[in-house]
């Protein structure tokens, strides 16, 4: 998807945020681009074109801008994407993606253009993503292009941990911190 600035309202329109669990968001991914006013598949939209498929989404710069809604990451993951490649990601979206088994990979604008053009001309293009060695490459003979990822996030993704497991293990330190603060705002009343 070569479009730039794909915002969270496009990835998952607000009217779909009414769910109370994490299921089913994949069905509504890019809804207003995928479907027309009569809820019929829009033939011009890439996700409705059977020639294009896979777990990697390659998108124009500033992917995921806008809202902090994590539902955007759930929608992409629910649909089946596991990797997004772009030249720039919005901050909050990036964090939400990493927390949900969805890997955002930032590459140079030049390489992004190469990928977009290659895929557009050859819908059956294959891209390999190697997380332990941190590279992506166009099959069969492309160069290995390195990407950055925070060491902690990498470890979590590879092992299926989440941040909460980690933080819960530090409860004692948190309680200690609370006791040693130089200024503590007076507490709100307890709820009955």
């Amino acid at each position: 998807m070569p479009m730039e600035d794909i915002d969270t309202d496009q990835i998952i329109p607000a009217r779909f945020l009414k769910a109370i669990d994490k299921l089913g968001f994949g069905d509504n991914l890019f809804y207003d681009w995928r479907y027309d006013k009569n809820d019929q598949p829009n033939p011009d939209f890439v996700l409705n074109n059977p020639l294009y498929s896979g777990k990697i989404l390659v998108a124009g710069k500033n992917f995921g801008s806008g809202s902090s809604r994590e539902h955007a990451a759930w929608a992409l993951h629910g649909y089946g994407f596991r990797v997004i490649i772009s030249s720039f990601f919005a901050d909050i979206f990036k964090g939400n993606a990493l927390n949900n088994g969805l890997l955002p990979i930032q590459v140079s604008p030049e390489y992004l253009d190469i990928l977009l053009q290659t895929i557009s001309q050859h819908p059956d293009t294959r891209i390999t993503m190697n997380l332990p060695e941190q590279y992506v490459m166009l099959e069969p003979e492309g160069e290995k292009v390195h990407f950055e990822i925070d060491g902690y996030k990498k470890m979590c993704l590879l092992n299926g941990y989440d941040d909460i497991d980690y933080l819960l293990s530090l409860k004692d330190k948190i309680v200690e911190f609370e006791k040693n603060r130089s200024y503590v705002p007076p507490p709100l009343p307890a709820t009955n």
Partner: protein, 464 residues
């Protein structure tokens, strides 16, 4: 670091521990929640079979999904009703204070926090909503988080986050007549663009900022996120302390003296260095409107739609204009508008309503315009009624509704029809934001009022 920015002072004060040299475990003073981004986080607690760690530091409201008329009746839309009922049940189960429908303090989460005196300088504040940056107006580190992070805070009252870089935007001089803080932030957005603040936390400073009331400051900080920034703050001063004093949950007695002593240390040291700094002259700012489909695509009301912009490829730019039904070089003054929405966490406080009422007094909303006023909270609404603003507004032909997020994002019934324009005091003009095919034009409350009365885009300064 000897000379610290205000952002550094507050951040460093809240770090429990650093992880991996790239992330900190940040302690969170206040956690606001609402019905849209909390359900899965509560479910997570149930699945892990753990309690909500600090219930007294958690405050809930129902705002995104709620109707803005007949709030005393059962919510008719089933999914909305389930979400709101789920929040009520979760708060009861886990012991969280809820300002829900029917509560006199219910309202948009970023309006009720400051109103109740919960938001105080020096705090770290988070919420599953990107406009949490609003609370930065009080000299806080406040930012939006995703639902998994909501769960982190529920479980441990901390967040694993990386520290953003520091930016300062200085605006000096005086804003002209008819020019407000909303115009100021739209102006900054047009200069810095929708991605210009990504990776940064912004401090707004300068004489023009200091002149602003607390409500006006909240409008500025609210839209920091539209620049891609993590958040934005303004150093607290006498105006801040005056605003907080005496509110429901403001410190009292000795606590007040202790709080004041701490709050007075909250400023950037004169020699503190920022990673990036900008300077602007307030006199350069005019009433602003947006023409495109992100908040950075704005122009002065007297200017024409650009033919191209540096921050977007021509394809994207033209797609945006096509969606909006506008042409490069087009002058927007005189363009008919079908809807006006005065509301949202950006501009739905009492000062905003006063501006609209003062402009509209004795006049009538144009016959082809639907003009909605949605006060930001029940308190704001009550105060508006006490001041007689409701009579002025209703007589002029505005709908005077109840509190909620409403048409800002159209999750409830308040949607803008496809193809119609809406001049809105809200914060986002993305495609379909206010309803599929809706065309949003962002503006200040004064500009919105002028458009409502005249039925078309006008320069409000001509009528003031």
């Amino acid at each position: 670091m000897k000379h610290k920015t205000l952002f550094d002072k507050i951040w460093d004060d809240h770090v429990v521990e650093s992880v991996d040299a790239s992330q900190d475990i940040l302690y969170i003073d206040r956690h606001f929640i609402h019905e849209v981004t909390s359900p899965q986080a509560f479910s997570g607690l149930r699945e892990r079979q753990i309690p909500l760690f600090r219930t007294q530091q958690t405050v809930a409201t129902a705002d995104h999904n709620v109707p803005t008329i007949n709030q005393h009746l059962r919510i008719s839309e089933p999914l909305s009703r389930i979400q709101v009922e789920t929040l009520t049940k979760n708060c009861a189960d886990f012991g969280v204070k809820l300002y829900g429908l029917g509560n006199p303090n219910q309202g948009i989460v970023h309006i009720i926090g400051p109103e109740l005196g919960i938001t105080q300088p020096g705090m770290t504040i988070v919420c599953g909503d990107s406009h949490t940056s609003t609370h930065g107006a009080f000299g806080t580190i406040a930012f939006g988080i995703g639902t998994s992070q909501v769960e982190q805070v529920f479980a441990t009252q901390t967040l694993l986050v990386s520290k953003p870089k520091r930016m300062r935007i200085n605006i000096d001089g005086k804003l002209g007549e008819g020019v407000y803080s909303k115009d100021l932030i739209l102006y900054l957005l047009s200069r810095l663009t929708a991605g210009g603040g990504t990776g940064y936390f912004i401090e707004y400073a300068g004489s023009a900022i200091k002149e602003l009331s607390m409500e006006a400051r909240m409008t500025i900080c609210n839209m920091s996120i539209e620049m891609g920034a993590r958040g934005g703050l303004i150093a607290p001063d006498e105006k801040t302390f005056e605003y907080i004093k005496g509110r429901d949950f403001a410190p009292q007695g000795e606590d007040w003296e202790r709080a004041l002593a701490y709050w007075q240390t909250l400023y950037s040291d004169p020699e503190a260095e920022f990673d990036l700094e900008y300077h602007f002259d307030a006199a350069d700012i005019e009433p602003m409107i947006t023409y495109g489909t992100n908040p950075g695509m704005g122009i002065k009301i007297s200017e024409q739609v650009p033919r191209e912009i540096k921050s977007a490829k021509p394809e994207s730019f033209h797609k945006s204009l096509d969606y909006m039904g506008l042409r490069p070089g087009q002058e927007l003054l005189g363009m008919p508008v079908q809807n006006v929405f005065i509301g949202s966490c950006t501009n739905a406080r009492i000062e905003d309503l006063r501006i609209v009422a003062a402009f509209s007094k004795g006049k009538k909303v144009s016959p082809h315009v639907r003009a909605m006023i949605v006060p930001g909270s029940q308190r704001v609404r009550k105060q508006a009624v006490e001041e007689g603003l409701d009579r002025i507004l209703i007589d002029a032909g505005y709908e005077f509704r109840e509190a909620g997020c409403s048409a800002c994002l159209g999750m409830n019934e308040d949607k803008i029809p496809a193809g119609q324009y809406c001049v809105s005091t809200s914060n986002r003009n993305f495609e379909g934001r206010q309803g599929p095919g809706a065309r949003t034009i962002l503006a200040s409350p004064l500009t919105a009022a002028a458009v409502a009365i005249h039925g078309k885009i006008v320069d409000p300064r001509e009528y003031v």
